[in-house]
């Protein structure tokens, strides 16, 4: 029985129609996944991007949290105490050194919080100044990118959707702005805005602390840097609006705003996220070197650029004061760039079919 060579007798059971259960077994669908979940899955697999994200998260969290419990403040000159002569022993402390009065208190058995990075030439705790500097840099990067995003997206979407003459005019304006040397223009604008009465206008508001320079920086970003974003969005919209589902929406009676908001924007959101992520380090960089040139934040508010600039005076004696902010800038910019690349790999459908 075991050796039935070339038996032509077929098993009839194998040819019975499938029952409803068997059919249901065959048409199993995999669990519904959204585009977003797919992207997250790919993103988590990318080690470099994940590490960058963790570093960014750590820096952001520490920038927000540390100032709350740090015993020193960014503008507190430790050697200056009310009613006493200035204690110059607090100036230019090396890391983990203490001022004279502090040493006395330690000798008396008190615990004193160490100056992790020492102090600067005016006796201010350097670590908290770095933290504040990173805070300013990140805030500038973030808000500047938001401004760029909003302007660029609006202009790009209108230009791409309307097409024709509107598109032509907008794109020629973009071309003109593109052809301007942006660094020169930023410096010119920043110094021109310095001449205006912006300082007085913002006096007494929250904006005063960050200063007129940073506001003019935002203005510069708003005026100049939206162009590449708007070009990108326009290109996306141009190709998306030829899709049949846009025509289908029109056939259903949808108008411009509905089509842009419901169909075009959601489909280019991945490009938007990626280019925003890549825009942030760009803005941080610009802020840093404007501050380095003295066009950035107002003293005593530090930014990473102005800290580096101040450190130049004592570069031979205190090189770490230049190195620390430089390393922090590099770390932020590098991680953000790698994060942006990771996001693009994970969310740009053109790269992964």
């Amino acid at each position: 029985m075991a050796n039935k060579y070339f038996n032509m007798q077929l098993d009839v059971d194998a040819f019975l129609p499938a029952s409803a259960e068997e059919k249901a077994y065959m048409v199993q669908m995999r669990p519904s996944t959204t585009f977003f979940r797919d992207g997250v899955k790919r993103f988590v697999k990318n080690k470099i991007a994940l590490i960058s994200l963790i570093i960014i998260a750590l820096i952001v969290v520490s920038c927000i949290v540390i100032p709350f419990f740090w015993p020193y403040s960014y503008d507190e000159m430790l050697g200056v105490k009310l009613g006493r002569p200035v204690d110059s022993s607090y100036n230019n402390l090396a890391p983990f050194e203490y001022g004279e009065t502090e040493q006395e208190r330690i000798a008396a058995g008190e615990k004193i919080f160490p100056h992790l990075f020492g102090t600067d030439s005016q006796g201010r705790d350097y670590f908290i100044r770095i933290v504040y500097g990173a805070r300013i840099s990140l805030a500038v990067g973030f808000f500047a990118s938001i401004i760029v995003l909003i302007i660029g997206m609006t202009v790009g979407a209108i230009s791409g959707y309307c097409g024709g003459k509107v598109d032509l005019v907008i794109m020629r304006i973009v071309d003109i702005i593109y052809s301007l040397p942006d660094m020169l223009l930023i410096i010119l604008l920043a110094s021109a805005l310095k001449q205006t009465k912006l300082d007085q206008i913002i006096q007494g508001t929250v904006l005063e602390k960050i200063g007129a320079n940073i506001i003019s920086l935002f203005v510069v970003f708003g005026v100049l840097y939206w162009v590449s974003m708007s070009r990108l969005i326009r290109g996306q919209i141009l190709s998306l609006r030829e899709q049949e589902y846009v025509l289908a929406a029109q056939a259903a009676g949808a108008r411009g705003k509905w089509i842009i908001m419901k169909h075009l924007m959601p489909n280019c959101i991945s490009v938007v996220i990626i280019s925003t992520a890549l825009q942030i380090p760009n803005a941080i960089f610009t802020e840093s070197y404007l501050s380095f040139l003295g066009l950035g934040v107002n003293a005593p508010m530090p930014s990473l650029g102005s800290l580096a600039s101040d450190a130049l005076n004592g570069i031979s004696s205190y090189p770490y004061r230049l190195i620390i902010p430089a390393v922090v800038i590099s770390l932020i910019v590098l991680s953000l760039n790698l994060l942006g690349d990771g996001l693009r790999d994970a969310f740009d459908p053109k790269l992964n079919g």
């Binding site: 519904s32 585009f35 899709q243 049949e244 589902y245 289908a248 056939a251 959601p266 489909n267």
Partner: protein, 328 residues
């Protein structure tokens, strides 16, 4: 055909749609995609529209729904001309469209229920989210989709299912008239049959009127009550489905019908194909007079001089040919 079909639902009069094509720096030429097409569609019937690629079938469908602004001509729906944007907006609740490509016609970022409910959202045709959900489920049932799939995305479905989603969307506003723009040509044959039959069932159930655009002649024959043949932006023949297959009068229709593949080899062997020489001319440089004269075996001098009139040769049989009486 019942007696109520004698009232035209859609009347198209001398419809023209030209696209401006840039040739060279500052020169544009009109591309005459649709060049003077007139026909009526009666309530409850299915008019098939056939012709080779690029002859303007799709443009007729889209211009008819005002997705393209007509260059000239009239579109009269239910006795009222559609002209202003308010007319068009109202018209969109009565006339909808099913698209050719079930892949690109569904937004990949929307769930099935959002896609189907989009026309309802646009026209605000429900009063509560619950009512919207009910309507979506009802529509999904109409087209044979499983209601569990409402929250899924379109890319999770097969071509046939996607086309069903597209059909459900076109049914959402309870339309009277649907333009089906090659709705089955992107599907494989077994699915085509299912979808075609579904169109028939929906027509019986909901009393729909179709303009069915296709290039598959057998499919059109199966579903249509009347068939219009287009060539190079013009309508060359319009008559009942049976008539056009049995007795086509226009030389182009003759050639077209002889090219229909016969499932029965016996009949296929006996029938002989009328070959057409040359290619369809570019609509940018359409021939003078009759558009078909460059490929027509019966072309004479008059064909180059005068554009043939689209006239009723026999009852309900329209042909655009100068020599139709001689050659038949």
């Amino acid at each position: 055909m019942s007696e109520m079909t004698r009232k035209p639902l859609v009347e198209v009069k001398d419809l023209k749609k030209y696209f401006d094509i840039n040739v060279g720096m500052f020169k544009t030429l009109p591309l005459k995609a649709v060049d003077g097409v007139s026909f009526d569609i009666y309530r409850g019937e299915t008019v098939g529209l056939v012709g080779e690629s690029g002859c303007g079938k799709t443009t007729v469908g889209r211009t008819l729904l005002h997705l393209y602004t007509p260059t000239s001509g009239q579109i009269i729906y239910d006795g009222k001309e559609i002209k202003t944007s308010a007319d068009i907006h109202e018209f969109r609740k009565k006339a909808t469209m099913v698209f050719q490509d079930p892949y690109s016609s569904l937004n990949p970022r929307m769930t099935v229920s959002d896609i189907i409910a989009e026309p309802l959202d646009i026209h605000k045709m429900y009063s509560s989210p619950e009512e919207r959900r009910q309507k979506v489920l009802e529509l999904m049932e109409h087209v044979g989709l499983n209601s569990e799939h409402a929250s899924r995305y379109a890319h999770e479905f097969s071509g046939g299912q996607r086309q069903r989603i597209g059909i459900a969307r076109s049914l959402a506003v309870n339309p009277e008239f649907i333009v089906c723009d090659e709705p089955v040509s992107a599907l494989d044959v077994s699915i085509q049959a299912q979808v075609i039959n579904m169109f028939g069932e929906l027509q019986d159930k909901l009393g729909l009127t179709y303009l069915f655009i296709a290039h598959d002649l057998l499919v059109v024959r199966h579903i249509s009550s009347r068939i219009a043949v287009m060539y190079l932006g013009k309508m060359v023949e319009l008559t009942s489905a049976a008539e056009i297959y049995e007795r086509p009068l226009h030389p182009y229709s003759k050639a077209l019908m002889s090219a229909v593949p016969m499932p029965d080899p016996k009949i296929a062997r006996e029938s002989h194909r009328i070959p057409l020489s040359g290619d369809i001319p570019s609509p940018l440089h359409a021939p003078s007079g009759c558009p078909f004269r460059t490929r027509c075996a019966y072309a004479c001098e008059r064909c180059a001089m005068e554009v043939p009139e689209f006239r009723e040769i026999e009852k309900d049989h329209f042909v655009a040919c100068h020599r139709v009486e001689e050659i038949n």
